[in-house]
Amino acid sequence: MSRQANRGTESKKMSSELFTLTYGALVTQLCKDYENDEDVNKQLDKMGYNIGVRLIEDFLARSNVGRCHDFRETADVIAKVAFKMYLGITPSITNWSPAGDEFSLILENNPLVDFVELPDNHSSLIYSNLLCGVLRGALEMVQMAVEAKFVQDTLKGDGVTEIRMRFIRRIEDNLPAGEE
């Protein structure tokens, strides 16, 4: 059957362990291939970006959400629709900046990090950095340049995982920026 056929709001079932382990394998392989964690973080972000720029199409196709009018609406869509659809969790949106151009996604439990324990020699690794890339890439395709970064991480012993999102500017030209 065609890909379009099974594209829809319904999400296909898949073992979360397999998913988590796959991501784990990816990250650890990167750790093997690159000397320092910073590079790994960069790579993760890059991969995420490449996922994002593609995933957005799928996202828009599945969830026929219209165009967002402001950043707050975007935030809601991300948390309530996107995260739900792809990770099966709904992070809460908190501490907006007064200017309304920054907010935090609070992930109570991050499915990527089940089982994961960071070894001491990877203290500066941002394990789930892929997510930031995905967000950045996806939003870029809808003319939003944003910055996403982890400010809290359960892996680092924090209570929750927090992704800080900052709106930078609207992208006027419509062509997707390629690899950076």
């Binding site: 988590t20 382990l21 784990g24 394998a25 324990e117 990877h122």
Partner: protein, 139 residues
Amino acid sequence: MAVCIAVIAKENYPLYIRSVPTEDELKFHYMVHTSLDVVDEKVSALGKALVDQRELYLGLLYPTEDHKVYGYVTNSKVKFVMVVDSSNTALRDNEIRSMFRKLHNSYTDVMCNPFYNPGDRIQSRAFDNMVTSMMIQVC
């Protein structure tokens, strides 16, 4: 409660072994190591049956004057050995079983940690804590 808990690799080297009190650690090491004899025996003897009825718990491996040694073997032939004080008569088979099951789950999580290479000694904090809980907690 348990005075010594050990995880032993398929090749019979210890992946993890911890005991209280630490001073007679050595004794426990010997004890656990020796108990592998019985584990092997049981596995080979009723290995067939075990596989059939999915029974991983090997029961009491052997009692000594002051300790009871219990065994449990995963289908991947990883062995869990638990030493309990004989004076601790409160512990019935079922408690032991459930403790082993907890151990097994926790071990599975360790295996799932992408940073853990199978065959290495287990250093997971989570696992450690779980074991500690089993050692201090009194049934």
